[in-house]
Amino acid sequence: MITFKNVTKRYDNSTIAVDNLSLEAPKGKITIFVGPSGCGKTTSLRMINRLITPSSGTIMLDGQPTEAIDLARLRRKIGYVIQHAGLFPHLTVVQNIATTARLIGIAKKQALGIASELIERVGLDRTFANRYPWQLSGGQQQRVGVARALASDPEFMLMDEPFSAVDPVVRHQLQEEFLRLQRDIGKTIIMVTHDIDEALKLGDQVAVLRTGGILAQIASPQELLSKPADAFVADFVGRDRGYRYLGFVDATSSLAVAAEPAAPLGTEPSTARALTRDRWILVTNAAAQPMGWVDLDQQTGPIRESDLNLSGTLASQSGNLRQVLDAALSAPSGRGVIVGTSGALLGSVRLAEIVTAIESAKAVGMGARS
């Protein structure tokens, strides 16, 4: 657990970067600091490993004030990941990762062993081991930066906009991998971002800071969406908050999945028409996985792959209302396709039923996923 107790940082020119901040980052959870540029996120983060010294107040790690810990030892307990990775240019990938393990006294050979395992753990190929940082893309460097922070198996991790220097596709990938990794390792993490979507997606708990370094609200993502503390938070969380909230409502409990007729590729239109009363029919592959929709009003010959309408998204059985709603909205038939864990078709849900489910979720004010 990381605890801020009345922490204030005033820079020499008397700008207050962080103002009387008190909060707790619980053990094994991800806490996100989010807020507009210059609101003191980075300053708050760097005060934890004392790259910046607080002007007043105390920061504690598991109840122990950081100023009571030897500086180098303190920092070795805390993994640190920054935007441009900050890799050592003169060391190979595997050597870079091994550095933190070496610093806590692990023998060289063993440290390199840990490092090469971590290369795969963060989603890189082992062939990258002996490359130098300049031979990697930004996203790959970022992965190495995360691996380096993990090599000493620190209890705590601080991450300052770790995914912001890469394109949206890679960012999404890194976020997914990061969540998967965190499920295994359960570190106490504080991450800084200015992207509210990232905050809501990754955070178990989100702290919204306002300019002047004042804590506006600290809450779970769903609470931030459903009960913003004030106009600033509401505005910062953004226009789509009503829709985003659905991302935190479990769909399985509130929706009955109806059977959805499906036809394999090659089906004659007449055969397909006998299966359904609707103009659209779902086409599945040999593994019963949905491939797309076909408009039977237009179809003349046997159904081919090129006839498929691919606009519909799929919602998983264990998904949330946002996914199910999107599946229904994006399908030409207006029915949201639900698949099981293997990707096989389970059935569909009609838009009207989803709206009813949303209404009851709002009414009960529960069904929130933690």
Partner: protein, 213 residues
């Protein structure tokens, strides 16, 4: 070229060459060893830094011959003692390398230093494991200048009688004989080129991490 003379003097010439090489290289090694900690201190010195580097630069303006003659008074050595030359060249090289080491340490990016600090490197290991390796390209470039200019300054020491290739120039002048002078020039250039090549080679070995185009 008088090859008979060359053949007769080959032993002496070989001797001069070895001395010349030693007098050029030893000061560079000695100065580098001192320049690393001094350069690091100067870099830490903040506002004092321009002043300290200025003083180092002034050292260079003292004529080498004057230094060769003055040093025995300071060191209590004989005027012919090669130690004078070694000490004088070490001072020159040090003046050059302190600045070079400073520049080399400046070339280490702030991101990298911050990462090293945040990881919990202590000063000493940060210097040797992070800063110094990354400063090698700049320091290597400074060393090239140092060895080559040392080869030429050493020959001046012939005027105070230290044995090295410069002795061939004074001999040639006295005897109005071109062969020793030409031999001296050729061997000086050869020495400078091979020492320069050695520094390039060593720098490359230590900077395999750099992109090569």
């Amino acid at each position: 070229m008088n090859f008979d003379w060359l053949a007769g003097e080959a032993g002496d010439i070989g001797n001069f060459f070895a001395w010349h090489a030693a007098l050029s290289v030893i000061p560079v090694v000695a100065a580098l060893v001192m320049a690393l900690p001094i350069g690091w201190l100067v870099k830490q010195s903040g506002v004092l830094r321009p002043a300290l580097l200025g003083i180092a630069g002034l050292l260079y303006t003292i004529p080498s011959l004057a230094l060769f003659v003055l040093l025995p008074l300071v060191l209590g050595t004989q005027i012919l003692d090669p130690l004078n030359v070694v000490v004088a060249l070490t001072l020159y090289t040090l003046a050059l390398l302190v600045r070079t080491v400073c520049d080399g340490l400046d070339a280490v990016s702030a991101d990298v230093l911050q990462a090293a600090n945040a990881m919990g490197y202590r000063r000493f290991s940060r210097f040797f494991r992070v800063e110094l390796p990354l400063a090698v390209p700049v320091i290597g470039a400074g060393l090239r200048v140092a060895v080559v200019s040392n080869v030429s300054i050493v020959s001046i020491a012939a005027l105070i009688g230290t044995p090295q290739l410069g002795a061939l120039f004074t001999e040639g002048l006295e005897l109005h004989f071109l062969t020793p002078i030409l031999t001296g020039i050729i061997l000086c250039v050869a020495l400078a080129v091979s020492l320069d090549g050695l520094v390039i080679f060593l720098t490359r070995q230590l900077t395999r991490w750099q992109p090569r185009s």
